[in-house]
Symmetry: C2
Subunit: 254 residues, 2 copies
């Protein structure tokens, strides 16, 4: 692998309206790009907050229609939470990794380990509605990539992001949960640094770093769910965010 | 808090020579900026790979002078590692969090949890030398910030970075282990999003996101240990990377 970009530009895209179930996301993004006077270029990396993808795909649950199980009620009572919200979290969980301090850390069906199995109440109109992660975030990224390619004639990479907490460190950061058009890693193994030392452990999760970089221009309070990263040299266009999921046999924290 | 930047530029700084013990890092950086024809501006965030800081501060250990303990020898035998390297890892560890699959996850004296207590063999001239994290990365960041302020008259934020692995996810990403001139978090708690929903869990670890963004222009193979991020609106200039360390009582993965 040659070296990566020496200069990047990152900008947010304004003008995305409140997304509704069934909306054509590529179409909404193209309108917003026009409002923001942004012209996409081939090679750009588009970071998209999963929430607008989930909304367009109808991954919303009305809590008024959820019947919590006895287990969900019990947890909700202990944690002082809404039992219907806990019920949705349990339904989205393939496995509970930890349950303590009022927090549920779960493995989602896609294999991502995160708080509340990625079920999120913020940024969804009406507090009775919660938002789930897309069923197949790689496929969502691929559809968006293809839609923008067809309508704009550009060859992008697309990253669907969510913000996750981490063990040992305070605060949440943006990570990639779906991607299309780029490999999630820059792999330096077997190569040698300037001192001639082999870079043994150097597999960089660049998709996560790109997602984090995109977050810096998004801002939670503005309606700016999309960031464009220009100047990042994509070496390998094939890959899946599933490759970011650590194999259970190697993982010491399951 | 008002909203953050809508556009960022990130560029790498070329021309940093091999750093030696006792080098004036601010001086070397100023020379490199001239070579790279980069003019710093107040408000820029400078991300600095900890390795050049550690080298300048003499945080290098010659393995030929290390006498491994019986415990280090035993671990090294089981993990097929250099017992002297294991010895240094143990000396840098305040506590071992996990030890499995040939990996030691340890808590450093600064409280960061990472592989090998941050002891690193790559990018150090001669394979018999290993590099430790700076003793006080916040203080290192503050010294660099002050040196650049005095010599260039600019008011920067400085982040000292290291690349850490993560539970559950493959690959390493850059994070902040020291900082000066900015708060590590953007705290949205108590504020309301565009749907009127209170952003309860939204404390973003922006120092880590800035560190990750900086890594994208660094490249492990080029000698480019510094990235400048321009356009990020710093709201709060006071803070410590120690605030990123999760309190043991809240941490479910110690």
């Amino acid at each position: 692998m040659t070296d990566r970009a020496n200069a990047l530009q990152i900008f947010g895209v304004d003008g995305i309206p409140e997304v509704k179930v069934g909306d054509d996301l590529a179409g909404l993004i193209i309108q917003a790009l026009q409002i923001s006077q942004v012209t996409l270029e081939s090679g750009d990396v588009m970071v998209v907050t999963h929430k607008i993808v989930s909304k367009a795909e109808g991954r919303l649950i009305d809590l008024r229609e959820v019947e919590p199980s006895p287990f969900a009620r019990q947890i909700a009572l202990a944690y002082d939470k809404d039992p219907r919200h806990i019920e949705v979290v349990l339904r989205e969980s393939k496995r509970i990794v930890r349950m303590d301090h009022g927090v549920i850390i779960a493995e989602t069906r896609q294999g991502f380990v995160c708080a509340n199995a990625g079920v999120d109440a913020s940024n969804v109109a009406g507090q009775e509605i919660v938002c789930l992660q897309p069923v197949d975030p790689d496929a969502s990224a691929q559809r968006l990539r293809q839609g923008l390619a067809e309508q704009l004639g550009v060859n992008l990479a697309v990253i669907i992001s969510d913000s996750f907490g981490r063990p040992w460190r305070n605060g949440i950061i943006n990570v990639a949960i779906g991607l299309a058009g780029l490999a999630p890693f820059a792999d330096y193994r077997g190569q040698h640094d300037s001192s001639g030392y082999e870079l043994r452990a150097s597999v960089l999760a660049v998709a996560d770093e790109l997602a984090a970089a995109g977050e810096l221009v998004m801002g939670k309070l503005a309606r700016r769910p999309i960031a464009i990263i220009r100047g990042y040299r994509i070496e390998n266009t094939a890959g899946s965010a599933q490759d970011l999921v650590m194999d259970a046999t190697r993982d010491m924290f399951r």
